[in-house]
Subunit: 260 residues, 2 copies
């Protein structure tokens, strides 16, 4: 565990709700309190956070004493990359095994689906994505063909979205889709924000097979904009932290459940 890695996780923790107690940070990271305090001191020095007795909060939010809601809207999603990173990596690796060499797949944007990318080298896939992060991650893989839909770039979500009447051109259509999501509940798959929900809807509306990649924390939490119903999915890949109730809900909807 290195300095930057720890600082990234700490920042993610703090940005998640605007505040993180020292105990939370200590529980999340495997390092001595002294080291964590030094990390906090560095981050404070850099102006990224403001320390208070017992924890730290986002710098520049002095006025907002009231609890801020966990909001993904407007927050560049890369900040969540380090959250539950271990699980996301496992899920991404497992999901990559679902790919068949040479086929065409759609990879949605999101921090979990992004973790598939390192494991796709050598499969000679044709990847269709609307995520600039995915494009960036796949560029070094010489054997992977990349196609993207045209449209406007939305910088908060770092996705490309065609908001006109046209949809993805048929020439870059791929039948199998790997989807990410912010929350999953009985109402279906959800995204934190309408733009993302619309983007994902574009991706799956003509799909023949849809896999959802989510870490188990996504099965509880606030809700958002509905992308699709659970029954529209074929597979869900998640980690072993999933509750029995959630697993049952998934099976009841007729969706295959894979624990990475």
């Amino acid at each position: 565990m290195h300095v930057e890695e720890r600082e990234g996780i700490i920042l993610d923790l703090i940005r998640k709700t605007g505040f993180a107690s020292f105990r939370q940070i200590d529980a999340a990271l495997d390092a001595s309190p002294a080291t964590l305090r030094r990390d906090l001191a560095r981050l404070e020095q850099a102006g990224a956070i403001a320390r208070v007795h017992g924890g730290a909060r986002i710098a520049g939010s002095e006025g907002a004493k009231t609890a801020t809601y966990p909001s993904l809207a407007g927050v560049p999603f890369l900040e969540n990359v380090n959250l539950n990173r271990r699980q996301k990596e496992a899920i991404g690796k497992r999901a990559a095994q679902l790919c068949r060499p040479g086929e065409s797949v759609v990879i949605d944007g999101g921090t979990t689906t992004l973790q598939m990318c390192p494991h796709l080298a050598g499969l000679n896939l044709h990847v269709v994505t609307n995520s600039l992060h995915v494009v960036s991650a796949l560029l070094p893989q010489a054997g992977t063909r990349i196609s993207i839909p045209g449209g406007a770039v939305f910088r908060e979500q770092n996705i490309i979205l065609n908001i006109g009447p046209q949809d993805m051109t048929p020439s870059i259509y791929a039948p199998r889709v790997f989807l990410g999501a912010a929350f999953v509940g009985p109402q279906g798959v959800m995204q934190a924000d309408m733009v993302l929900a619309a983007a994902e809807h574009q991706l799956i509306e003509r799909a023949e097979w849809v896999a959802l990649l989510v870490d188990s924390s996504k099965f509880s939490g606030p809700s958002g904009s509905v992308v699709c119903a659970l029954s529209e999915l074929d597979v869900i890949v998640t980690d072993d932290g999933i509750s029995k109730a959630a697993a049952e809900m998934i099976r009841d909807a007729g969706v295959e459940l894979i624990i990475a």
Copy 2:
């Protein structure tokens, strides 16, 4: 095992996740730590990576503190970026002045046109581009809208090219085009490679106004695939190294010549 081979493996390792610890690198390569440290020092000197205690990460991504956009930093561009850099910067800056606030423009890929990007902040432009590098450069500019055509990503050139029958969707059409080129001669504007030539042809075929950005070295050299005739251009922006003969050729073709 040669130097370049090792450096390539190290770079791949680092690009895989954006960071690689020294132990990982040491485990992956059969060379002494001293040699690997020398490799890292060279790569850092070249600006490809940034070393931190315990490892190294991609240059330009300042940890999780600021890395919010997908960065193409570290993605191989043409070696040309630093070639005639002074001139290219001047040309880019001058060409940016040709933009009118709020308008829609097309910016072609290439090392010269790329130099326009830093000067476009605040103009509230709508930029249409097929270059991933341009997208990357414009992402931090909050006021600049970015649109891209759909299609396949060509990694050598880092451009998006629609090779199907469809062309750029009308909704992201922009009438004024800033073009780059590899070579300019009496036969017209040329690119070193057919893919690039085809991409640029797509860009200008419906343009109402075309500016060509080239440093003066481009007026002599080998030729390539023709993109368009000189007479199809409206403006050429170049540096003061241009020869009298070339300047005359341009004026004879009825094209305005701007020396940056």
